[in-house]
Structure formats: C-alpha cells, structure tokens
Amino acid sequence: MISTQLFYGGGGILLLLLGLWSFLVHAPLLRKLIALNVMGAGVFHILVATAYRGLDTPPDPVPHALVLTGIVVAVSATALALAFGQRLDRDDDR
C-alpha cells in the first residue's frame, strides 16, 4: 500500500515543518524546546515511513534502529536543555 507510506511520510514532513515554524517564530525557550521535539517526531515518522517495504517484505531494520536510538537521545537532549533553562531562570531571579 504505497498510499499508506506516503500518508505516514507526509504526516512526518508536516510535523517537521510545523515544528520548524514554531521554533523560528516563538521566543520562549520552552516553546522552542517543544517545537524541536515536534520536529524530531516528524523526522522519526519520515524514517519509519522509508523503512516500509510493502506488506509482504519485512521492513528495513536500519532506519528502525536509528529511530530507536534517536528517541532516547532526543529525550536526554531535552532534559539537558531543560536543566540549562532552569539554571538560566534561577540566575535571572537573583
């Protein structure tokens, strides 16, 4: 079903662009961070869609592995960015 793959990949591209728009337009750090995560989700969608090779053949395992590690790295990068933001806020208050 090629249309399923296109729908899924297209959804990923849409998420990527929405995230990029929000990242460029909104100033607060937290909103930028959420936008980055939405972009990341879009990239993961696109990668998963490229792994699809029809119902009869098993999917390509290489993009799947990339997504798997990518999710964990995205989570830890978000945690690091949040910690930086929190520290910046704390220093501003003084």
């Binding site: 090629i2 793959q5 296109l6 990949g9 297209g10 591209i13 849409l14 990527l16 662009l17 990029l20 728009w21 460029l24 337009v25 696109i46 869609a49 490229t50 792994a51 090779r53 098993p58 999917p59 390509d60 395992p61 290489v62 799947h64 592995a65 798997l68 590690t69 999710i71 964990v72 790295v73 989570v75 830890s76 990068a77 945690a79 690091l80 949040l82 910690a83 930086f84 929190q86 520290r87």
Partner: protein
C-alpha cells in the same frame, strides 16, 4: 519579528520546502529501489547471534553507533549534573498514589527485564528496557521520593557508565583476541550482546531517571526506596 514575516513569508517558505520534501519522498517511495542496506542486513541476521533484525543492527552491525549513543546520553547527564544540585522534590503523594506506585514500580522493573530478554528475537531491547526503568524512576520522583529510587552517588556514577564500560571491555577483549573492536565471533555473539545490553539497560534507565531529577543528586534528605 514582524507579523508579516512570521505569518506570511515564513509559512510560504516552509510550504515551498515542504513541497520539495514531499516530492523527494514520493520519488523515493515509488521509484525503482536501488541497492538498499535492508536486503544485506536481513540476509546476514542469522550470523549476528540474535534473530531480531533491529537488535542485530543496533548491537552488531552498528555497534559503534550504539556505543556513541550511550556516550551522548552520558554527556547529557554530566551536563545536567554540572549545573548544580537538583531542585527540591515533590511532596509525598497521597495514599492512592502511593498504592499505585507500590504496584507499578515492581511491574515496570519486571517488564524491563522481559523487554531486555525478548529483544533477541522480537521487538524490544536495551533502549526500550532502559526507558521502562527510567519511567519507574520518574514515577518514584513524582510520588515524592527525592532520589527517585536511585542508589547512592558512588553506585550511581558506576551504573551510569555501565553501558559504555561493558561495550568497551567487550570490544577491547575481542581486540586482544585478534578479532577487531566489537567484531563478535558468531558462536559467542548472543551472550556478548546480552552482556552489553544488560549494562546498557541499567545505564539508560539510571541516566533517564537521574536526568529527570534535573541536577546533581542530593542524598542529605534520603528516603528509602521501596
């Protein structure tokens, strides 16, 4: 940024990028597929010691990648710890939340062990198992355990490098044996992968839980984990 730029120009530019991306994706999905890694990767799965192709990519073909991935996780944790002590935790949860946590945390740890083992032949593996362990820690932190169930600082430091340690030790031992860094002999591959994945699971789980705390662990107000 003016409203005109953010509401008109920028969306138009992004839409143009989107059209190019979708066109590229369409061509890639419908066009004649050239030589892809998938066939090569799937053909040699039986030699990798595990039957789940994703695990064989992660821990065998691209083991270097996964090693560096763990290094990225550790770097993020070090960055968080370098910013100072963690903020004070949440207040102790009510009786219902406590009851739920008492049930869920052991179940999550059990599920993590299952995920780790099942990764050899079905979807699962170190990253999923580590995420489950990490979520157990997050749950404890939300219920008001200030250390999120993490051990003392010394043990915590050891656990957070365990994945990289297991990877490097296996790689170096194999190098000494003349096989090359992280080139597993097929008859031992299953056990080496399991060893590395166990270390990686603990390291990922501890890193995620510690990252959630958002700072260096403070053990002065220690409450015993269940």
């Amino acid at each position: 940024m003016t409203r005109f730029v953010s509401l008109v120009l920028l969306p138009l530019g992004l839409a143009a990028i989107g059209v190019v991306l979708i066109w590229t994706f369409y061509l890639a999905a419908t066009g004649e597929a050239g030589a892809r890694l998938a066939d090569l990767a799937l053909a040699r799965v039986p030699e990798t010691g595990v039957s789940n192709p994703v695990t064989s990519v992660l821990l065998n073909y691209r083991a270097y990648d996964t090693l560096l991935e763990l290094a990225v996780l550790l770097a993020a944790l070090l960055g968080i710890w370098s910013l100072g002590p963690a903020a004070p935790g949440f207040q102790r949860g009510g009786e219902i939340l406590q009851g739920m946590v008492d049930w869920f945390v052991p179940l999550l740890i059990l599920a993590a062990g299952y995920m780790l083992w099942v990764g050899a032949y079905a979807p699962g593996g170190a990253f999923q198992a580590g995420a489950l362990l990490g979520s157990a820690g997050v749950m404890l932190a939300l219920a008001g355990y200030p250390s999120a169930g993490l051990p003392s600082e010394r043990l915590l430091r050891l656990l957070s490098i365990l994945g990289i340690l297991a990877f490097c030790l296996v790689g170096l031992v194999l190098m000494v044996l003349g096989l090359g860094f992280l080139t597993y002999p097929p008859e031992l591959a299953k056990w080496l992968i399991l060893l590395i994945e166990t270390g990686a699971t603990l390291a990922i789980g501890v890193t995620l839980a510690a990252a959630y705390l958002g700072g260096r662990p403070d053990h002065t107000s220690e409450v015993d984990a269940p």
